[in-house]
Subunit: 249 residues, 2 copies
Amino acid sequence: MLTSTTIDIRSPPQTVVRRLNSLAPLSDAGIATLVKAVGERVSRAGPGEDLVCEGDRSDRVRIILSGWLTRYKTLDDGRRQIVSLVLPGDTCDAWAHLLRQMDHSIGTLTPVIYAELDAARFEELLAADRSLEEAFQLETLAGMAIQREWAVNLGRRIALERVAYLLCEIFERLRPVGLLEGNSCAFPITQMDLADATGLSVVHVNRTIQELRASNLIVLRERTLTISNLEALKNLALFSPSYLHLRAE
Amino acid sequence: MLTSTTIDIRSPPQTVVRRLNSLAPLSDAGIATLVKAVGERVSRAGPGEDLVCEGDRSDRVRIILSGWLTRYKTLDDGRRQIVSLVLPGDTCDAWAHLLRQMDHSIGTLTPVIYAELDAARFEELLAADRSLEEAFQLETLAGMAIQREWAVNLGRRIALERVAYLLCEIFERLRPVGLLEGNSCAFPITQMDLADATGLSVVHVNRTIQELRASNLIVLRERTLTISNLEALKNLALFSPSYLHLRAE
DNA sequence: CGTTTAGTTGACCGTGCTCAAGGGGCGTGG
DNA sequence: CCACGCCCCTTGAGCACGGTCAACTAAACG
């Protein structure tokens, strides 16, 4: 049974290993080095906090052990757009310390546990093992691909497809890190956040979700998403997972 | 006076040097190394060609010496979304050879002249000079930031703001590579492409442009864009250039 | 308990889409 | 040289998708 929190009680570094391993095979030595590095400085944040704000300088790499976050930007008049989700196992801003300031903020949706590495320590980690370096590079490239597909979603899908697509993406990104339970997963994201992620209004997200429910495609209650018919949902969403660049297809 | 083509008759490698230099200062040695590498294999493409297609493997780095391109994705039913513009001086897919296949296509809008480097030669170039390596890394990071702002544009700006924003972005990206002439620049992009870039219909892009013209903000004819009142256009677009991560502000 | 946050519903309306037609510039071939 | 086709831009009419505003419920929380 799923709990309403996304704190993962299983060995947390395992999430990161799975995530990187889903992109490129890690050597045993690489896994050991990674697990050690990730255990050195572990921090926590509550839900609704900002890890980094637009305008800040980010001199640390953050590797998410558990919990969900969003990258978002706000316009001067308050309009807000979530530009991507950061899920367990993901790495935040592997190379952002090269920039003088962040162009977006990173906020938590749930309680989050994350490892922090300063830039030098991260470089050391990459230098220590070739398979690690490649995996982290691929993680960045996959993030860029997700970002592009996000633009397609916002620009060219209608509301129903847009929400369906987002559910598919979340589902297929949680799969390789082992956070699915059958055809269900935790879903700690409010309709307001869904609205800011899909470029819709809250009211319309609500109606769209009800339409997906009425079509018997999903069950969504108590912060748990169950996808009753994944194939049908993917078809509706025009979802094809190749952009995730996962090894096992 | 501007010509209707964007083929840059000025020393082409200069464009690349300017672009990288706008992000991080290049050493003299770095510039020399770069100019040499960029001259080794120069290719050309006509307008309306695809340099790379979704699904292809990309094992080469392409550095654009002159001409405009788009990155785009197509949904199964033909809907198309341009996810970013590639302008003179930009580098295409510095690290894409690590991926097994491209998740998007890259097509030309104009005749294009570009340098091709295979992955090994590109790595060599980075290794040769520290300032070059940093500049290319920043180029990638800036590309990611542009991609994020693109999502904001599609998700949270209304049509008028959206088109205005795109014009501002183009203008401010052409500036550091020296492709502005006063308050004008070449504008070799059709309204159909603008529609695919902004997530609007062609008809509505047309009406939107006319509205910008009627407000005396822009003049757009014969493939030339003149921004009559840049400040006003930026205000309308809620455009703030920090996401471009340019050194000189 | 009152307050806040998230979800839900109804009514109305406007931004932007669709469909359709026509015009102008330009290249190509008869 | 003109005719034709093609691409791009433009305009009109009608409509629908999704936004806004407002009110209400339910759960969570202090």
